[in-house]
């Protein structure tokens, strides 16, 4: 069986999760990593990655790499993904694919031009908790879904840990809307929009209400109401304002209703899961999506969610930003 040789660019929060998962992938090996931080590169070395580079362009020159995981801040996606494509490496690119649709189109076009595969990282599609509703929708058990509620509330970049543990500094780029492309709607909203599009098809119309509890120039909460092509109406709530983590969907069909949620395991269970499987249940979707990417490369199939999926999500988000409703004024 062929073995895919992976590289990873960016070892921040999500990059380190991918780094850990790469050790457990079947038919793949992580051979190189790149990050500006020496500390992060040492973590990669300690995890058995032989080649580490402070500059990702050095990594692109390596001939023994088939595909690259890009886990950089959003504003760096376009330039990096284009360079990776030009280096003829397949791309796994974290969500959101880019800051806006123009950049997303450039990335997709570069991947096509260089004949490399492009997958956008959306772990919810691979999480067993959210795959089950997809099966129930497709097999008709729920009837026709009239109304859906999707909620994703957490602390976002303002990472809180358990009581009295030292909070983590927030990387400066998160405070700059020009670098992120927006607030919680693009960050967490992209997850839910992608998941609901997978369930119900394309969104034909969307409106949003944005909240600014923290007085920043980007939203820290958003409520969207979206109409899907086959008639489902979805209410999507996302927020960075809470100390707790809450990710849930409720589907109300003409036959039955169904709920699914995703929550962190308690620390003891997480330790046991990590020791036995290599990842905790909370990150199972992240692991399976990487395995899917590797499998698609081996079998020469297009990975999904694709770059186009990431682009469609951004189109919806741009529409939502441009189609705001104000309910705090008469």
């Amino acid at each position: 069986m062929e073995r895919i040789r992976l590289g990873i660019i960016g070892l921040g929060y999500i990059g380190k999760i991918h780094l850990r998962h790469c050790q457990k992938l079947a038919n793949a090996k992580l051979v190189a990593a790149s990050d500006l931080s020496k500390k992060a590169l040492k973590i990669a070395n300690d995890a058995g990655v032989k080649k580490t580079y402070p500059n990702y362009e050095q990594l692109l020159g390596a001939s023994d790499i088939d595909a690259i995981i890009i886990a950089l801040p959003t504003h760096l996606h376009t330039q990096c993904a284009k360079q990776v494509a030009e280096a003829k490496k397949h791309i796994f690119l974290e969500k959101p694919i880019a800051r806006n649709t123009t950049e997303a189109e450039e990335i997709i076009s570069a991947a096509k031009k260089n004949n490399v595969k492009l997958m956008t990282g959306y772990p919810l599609r691979f999480s067993p908790a959210f795959r089950k509703p997809k099966e129930r929708i497709d097999d008709g058990t729920l009837g026709e879904i009239e109304i859906a509620h999707a909620t994703y509330i957490g602390s976002g970049p303002f990472m809180h840990r358990a009581e009295a543990h030292t909070p983590l500094p927030v990387p400066e780029w998160w405070f700059n809307k020009k670098l992120t492309g927006g607030g919680t709607l693009i960050d967490l909203g992209s997850h839910l929009i992608n998941l609901l599009r997978w369930y119900f098809g394309e969104i034909t119309n969307v409106r949003s209400h944005l909240g600014y509890r923290f007085n920043l120039d980007f939203e820290d909460s958003a409520t969207c109401i979206a109409k899907f092509e086959h008639g489902t109406l979805a209410v999507i709530n996302v927020g960075w304002f809470s100390q707790s983590y809450h990710l849930k969907i409720d589907l109300h069909g003409s036959v039955r209703s169904l709920s699914a949620n995703h929550s962190p395991s308690n620390p003891i269970s997480a330790v046991i899961q990590t020791l036995t499987k290599g990842y905790s249940k909370f990150y199972e979707g992240h692991f399976i999506e990487l395995q899917h990417f590797v499998n698609c490369l081996i079998k020469d199939r297009p990975p999904s969610p694709s770059g186009e999926d990431g682009l469609r999500d951004l189109e919806v988000i741009e529409q939502a930003y441009g189609n705001q409703i104000r309910i705090d004024q008469p």
Binding site: E163, L168, P169, N215, L216, F241, T274
Partner: protein, 300 residues
């Protein structure tokens, strides 16, 4: 023995808060001096947690205090709200996110990031350690320094964060974790160097094992006494909190206090105290963090 007042506020609107602050000051017989010109107020800003978590001082509480100061001293008194950068918090964002930028605009008060303030160095000893403490100009020049802390647990050996610990946040040096091996002594040293005059606790929402609306306002001129009282409310034995004992030994105040106003027991019964399960979980997590196991397993 020092006076510590306890006032209950049932619904924390601006007028009631102002009245509660006034009542808490009357109970300890506190009188403002009309000659005060420059006032520094140190709320507790911690990371980017908003006031509803019980981790940070509610800007509405500080607004009520500003009203009290302008009524009692002079409408023209110069007021500065002070805070400094920390390992994981930048004042420029905390002021905005926690509502202090809006407060400063509405109330015409200064917002001072002490990490950007000019400073003088003071040499202070506490216990067996000596420290070079940077004392910011705004603190030096204030003729009335008011501390507005919260009551909350902390995992560190110091166990509780209240008046004395909040003044640790006036240390302009952002990398505060560097003091953590001698945190108790550093807290005492900084309090000796900065010497705040008045401590008014915003205990409207407190943070125990979870936030709880306690509706408490406490006041004292003695930070050691008010911290001892706060520790008792949180179900801790103040005698086991070493830095409080050190603070007393170093002359910062009395561990004994006289309860004025509502009985302390009233608040103690309602405080969301630790139970055995939360104590064990915290201990296990703390060990995992200290040994690096949590990082290895990706739990952080």
């Amino acid at each position: 023995m020092s006076l510590v007042s306890f006032v209950k506020v049932t619904y924390a609107d601006r007028n009631r808060l102002e009245q509660a602050i006034m009542d808490s000051l009357h109970l300890i017989h506190y009188r403002f001096l009309s000659r005060s010109e420059n006032i520094a107020i140190k709320p507790n800003m911690c990371y980017y947690w908003d006031y509803s978590t019980g981790q940070t001082t509610d800007p509405k509480f500080v607004a009520a205090l500003i009203d009290v100061l302008r009524e009692q001293i002079s409408p023209d008194v110069n007021i500065s709200i002070v805070e400094s950068d920390a390992s994981a918090m930048q004042c420029k964002y905390a002021f905005k996110m926690l509502g202090y930028e809006r407060l400063a605009n509405n109330y015409n008060v200064n917002l001072i990031n002490l990490s950007e303030d000019p400073y003088e160095t003071a040499h202070v000893t506490a216990g067996k350690y000596s420290f070079k403490i940077m004392v910011p100009k705004t603190i030096q020049e204030a003729d009335l320094k008011i501390n507005v802390p919260k009551v909350k647990y902390t995992m560190e050996p110091i166990k509780i964060t209240c008046a004395l610990k909040n003044i640790f946040g006036c240390n302009p040096y952002p990398q505060k974790f560097r003091y953590h091996s001698k945190l108790g002594e550093a807290i005492v040293a900084i309090n000796k160097a900065m010497n705040f005059n008045l401590h008014i606790i915003d205990g409207i929402i407190v943070s125990g094992i979870q936030p709880r609306r306690l509706g408490l306002v406490m006041a004292s001129t003695d930070p050691v006494a008010i911290d001892n009282a706060a520790a008792e409310i949180a179900g801790l034995n103040p005698k086991t909190i070493k830095y409080l004992q050190l603070a007393k030994k170093e002359g910062l105040g009395n561990t004994a206090f006289w309860n004025e106003g509502e009985p302390l027991e009233h608040f103690k019964t309602q405080y969301p105290k630790k139970n055995l399960q939360t104590k064990l979980m915290s201990k296990a997590y703390s060990i995992a963090v200290q040994t690096g196991l949590s990082k290895k397993l990706g739990l952080e």
